[in-house]
């Protein structure tokens, strides 16, 4: 069996910035002393005159980005998700969201898969925080192909965008000719017994779980939701109608992220029994990323176990 190609979406992010720099001459990149980690360093090496290190001052960086956008530039402001969505929340809300600035926020090192750095750096709340800002587009790509496509889509869209990237290398599940569109979900596997809606790094565990569920006589549908906001309501409603049971899977708090967004849609438009899989209102902890994900039952095995228990199998 050939080795599956794995790449961290933060790497895809850095590569995409470099790749699109020529096509988008107004694209500039800001970072807060983390260019090596966020991979904006890839852009910096190629376009040093279009890269600005703001130092360890994330709130200022977001408002600097707003000033650049207000005067015609397309800034990508990058730091870890904890500091982009957390520390700089109010700058993002008031100086980017409220004036609907054309700022793109590239937030890396999201979720438990930060690993060893532990809870202070494992942001499990960013999707919730960003989703609640009016007019903010929120994306959480699943692999290299989707991450690059999300960067391109963000460049073509006028308005604030938050894109979540991961530190951990993840398998490439999309083909090179994948057609990505902001706001459109994707059925990765058709089924009729249960819908598994996953996002970002949890798409692969969702697919593994679906494969295992086959042996239990469960035919699971798997949907990849990259755009958390605006979410693909039509796709979710149609699938919920078909299967009658919905499970969401995310590397984020079960409060306010993908699970929250799906529950909001379905409870109003297609009430359907649901199980939200994620981090259950707790902080993370240190450890190698894969071990932490295993402990929190967010690897393929853990997700399968949780869905099986929910279905009473």
């Amino acid at each position: 069996m050939s080795e599956v190609k794995k790449i961290a979406t933060r790497e895809s992010y850095g590569n995409a910035l470099r790749e699109y720099a020529e096509e988008y001459p107004n694209l500039v990149v800001l970072d807060a002393d983390l260019a090596g980690a966020t991979k904006t360093g890839i852009f910096k090496a190629a376009y040093p005159d279009r890269f600005f290190d703001c130092g360890i001052a994330e709130g200022n960086m977001m408002a600097i980005a707003a000033g650049l956008a207000a005067t015609g530039m397309i800034p990508f402001a990058s730091t870890f998700a904890m500091f982009a969505a957390g520390r700089a929340y109010e700058q993002v809300r008031n100086s980017i969201g409220y004036p609907h600035m054309n700022v793109k926020i590239g937030a890396t090192h999201a979720g438990l898969s930060v690993g060893e750095d532990g809870a202070s750096h494992q942001c499990l709340e960013d999707l919730a925080l960003m989703r609640v800002i009016p007019g903010m587009t929120v994306m959480n790509p699943a692999d290299d192909i989707e991450a690059k496509a999300a960067v391109k889509a963000a460049l073509d869209y006028v308005g604030p965008v938050y894109i979540r990237f991961g530190r951990l290398a993840v398998p490439v599940i999309h083909d090179a000719d994948y057609k990505f569109e902001i706001g459109k979900g994707e059925i990765l596997r058709e089924g009729k017994d249960v819908t598994i809606v996953a996002t970002g790094l949890e798409v692969e565990p969702a697919l593994i779980a679906a494969e295992n569920l086959k042996n239990d006589g469960v035919d699971a549908e798997v949907i990849n939701i990259c755009t958390i906001k605006p979410i693909d309501e039509e796709l979710l409603i149609a699938s919920a109608k078909k299967t009658g049971k919905v499970v969401t899977v995310e590397e984020h708090s079960v409060i306010g992220g993908l699970g929250g967004a799906v529950a909001e849609v379905l409870s109003e438009k297609m009430p359907t029994p649901m199980k939200r899989i994620g981090v259950y209102d707790t902080f993370g902890e240190s450890g190698p990323a894969l071990e932490v994900l295993h402990k929190y039952e967010l690897d393929g095995e853990g997700v399968y176990k949780q869905i099986k228990a929910y279905l009473g199998k």
Binding site: N60, A63, T71, N94
Partner: protein
């Protein structure tokens, strides 16, 4: 424009502050009045702007970092011809373009929505960087409160502007010495402001913010300053021009009632007659 004319306009700007906040029954007259001379100089002398073409990409930019003193900004914009001064009476009313803190999507001529203290100076810094990147010679101005300088973000922005040598940026601090809870020393002493900006690699000019000769000279000096941003620390009187508001901490965020409105307008009429 000579100083006499600027003083006449500034007096009209002050009247607009009183009219607006009186009609709103809320708002921030104190810091609007202290900055009225500065607003007047910026909008009538210093900035390259055209009220008929508020979205001109090559215009100078102004970010009101101390966004709560927008009654003064709206009033000077009305005087400058952006809109009819009658509209000042809609301040803070539902449906008004004159929001409680400036919003660029409501009112053409507002270059940035602001109001959350500390953020405007960062945005202005980003704009100054943008002009450099685009090799444009438009300049960027921002006005901060002295109490606002307690926000850490002010110094994050100052560090960036100094480090990147943004000599197209002018940061003005309205040093009226009063904030909501008392004098700035009492609350959390941000002094010395001039030495702090110097330490952040700014060219610093101290002036009397009610003396148009000094204001004029400071902005000229700022234009001539290369390789570093300029900070103008201007000493002002909070509530300037209205007898019972001058140097009174209580007039930070309170509107005049009907009786006070009459007294304030009479004060300003009297000043007008001397000009």
């Amino acid at each position: 424009m000579d100083n006499k004319e600027l003083m006449r306009i500034a007096n009209e700007v002050r009247k607009g502050v009183i009219v607006g906040t009186h009609s709103a029954k809320s708002g921030h007259p104190g810091g609007s009045l202290s900055a009225a001379d500065l607003y007047t100089y910026l909008y009538f002398e210093e900035m390259n702007i055209d009220p008929k073409n508020p979205f001109d990409p090559d215009r100078d930019r102004f970010v009101l970092s101390k966004g709560h003193t927008c009654p003064g900004l709206y009033s000077v914009m009305a005087q400058r011809g952006y809109f009819d001064p009658e509209e000042l009476k809609t301040l803070r009313h539902v449906g008004s373009r004159l929001q409680g803190h400036p919003s660029m999507h409501y009112l053409p001529g507002i270059d940035m929505s602001s109001g959350s203290l500390g953020q405007g100076v960062s945005v202005a810094t980003g704009m100054a960087l943008s002009a450099k990147l685009q090799k444009k010679d438009w300049r960027v101005y921002t006005l901060l409160g002295d109490g606002e300088c307690e926000e850490g973000e002010v110094w994050e922005a100052a560090m960036f502007a100094g480090a990147k040598k943004l000599d197209n940026l002018v940061v003005v601090v309205d040093n009226n010495n009063l904030q909501i809870d008392g004098t700035v020393e009492e609350v959390n002493n941000p002094y010395p402001l001039d030495e702090k900006f110097k330490a952040f690699n700014f060219h610093v000019i101290n002036i009397d913010g009610h003396d148009f000769n000094q204001i004029r000279a400071a902005f000229k000096e700022a234009r001539e300053t290369k390789g570093m941003p300029t900070a103008i620390i201007m000493k002002t009187v909070k509530g300037k021009g209205v007898s019972f508001m001058e140097n009174q901490v209580g007039w930070h965020g309170k509107a005049p009632n009907d009786e006070q409105f009459e007294v304030a307008m009479k004060d300003l009429e009297r000043i007008g007659e001397t000009l």
